[in-house]
Amino acid sequence: MRWATRHHCHVDRAACAWLIRRFIDPEAEFVFVDDADEVPADATPLDMRGVELSHHGGDCSFETFLRRYELADPVLWEIAKVVHEADLVDERYDAPEAAGLDVLVRGLSMVCDDEELLRLTAPLFDGLYEYRKRALLSGREPA
């Protein structure tokens, strides 16, 4: 399937792309556009104003994906808190990792293009998923 989002991806779109490839559509192909009008007819738009898979009711796009695709995995919701705070910084959640994640992904976006950013951040989210999963299972911070 083809998915379309805006150029210059940051943390929310990087996290959504990872989520799509891992949990929704392993064959996902991403196209990057400058304006909603440029979204190809066969592509599903995400993280853009006025589309379904985007910010709604104060949620970031990653949270919207979890709701729309009914992904109830509690580990994904732990990641959602971090992504939300990294993206919106509105203190809805307590996610101290968010500030670090924001800087790392923003920094990466300064030295590579969107394809490369999605490729490089995927293992980061794999690791975050594993860490949060172990934390949830053991009830303490894993080492």
Binding site: H10, G57, V89, D90, A99
Partner: protein, 159 residues
């Protein structure tokens, strides 16, 4: 003559008077971003990828709350008016820095344990202020300095 003026991103919005929750949520988010309220229903920030995106999401929230919102990119026609707007924004954060410096100074007289907690709280507060500081006023340096002094006091060995 070339224009030296910087581009701004503006959110023009109209929200129903009731319910008041979306209105106060929007106000809170605009304040956190450090946006200048140019008029009732018109908020401005210096343009960059982040400010534009944040205002776009707020525009979306306004629409979802039954209001109307548009995003504009523009510049002030006069350099003097731009300086005035920047000065107003700088003064707003300067007041926040001053109040943080005063809190940090007052914390010197606290007991060591409470002083450490105050330091942690003020450091978080400083990060929040910096995130909405687009035209750093001299008060910023002062706030950093007072906080560094408080940190040194906290790290001092207990005799």
């Amino acid at each position: 003559m070339t224009s030296k003026r910087a581009p701004w991103v503006l959110l023009a919005y109209r929200l129903p008077r009731e319910p008041s929750t979306p209105r106060s949520a929007l106000w809170r988010k605009l304040r956190r971003l450090g946006a200048a309220q140019v008029l009732d229903g018109l908020a401005a920030l210096p343009l960059d990828a982040r400010t534009r995106e944040q205002l776009e999401w707020l525009a979306e929230e306004v629409v979802e709350a039954g209001g109307e919102a548009t995003i504009w990119i523009g510049e002030l026609a006069s350099a003097a008016q731009e300086r005035e707007l920047a000065a107003r924004m700088a003064e707003a954060v300067a007041a926040d820095y001053r109040s943080l410096s005063a809190d940090a100074e007052a914390a010197r007289r606290e007991a060591p344990g409470s002083r450490r907690r105050t330091l942690a709280r003020l450091r978080r507060e400083l990060r929040r202020i910096r995130a909405r500081d687009y035209f750093p006023p001299p008060e910023r340096e002062r706030a950093h300095q007072v906080l560094a002094e408080l940190a040194a006091l906290v790290e001092e060995p207990v005799r």
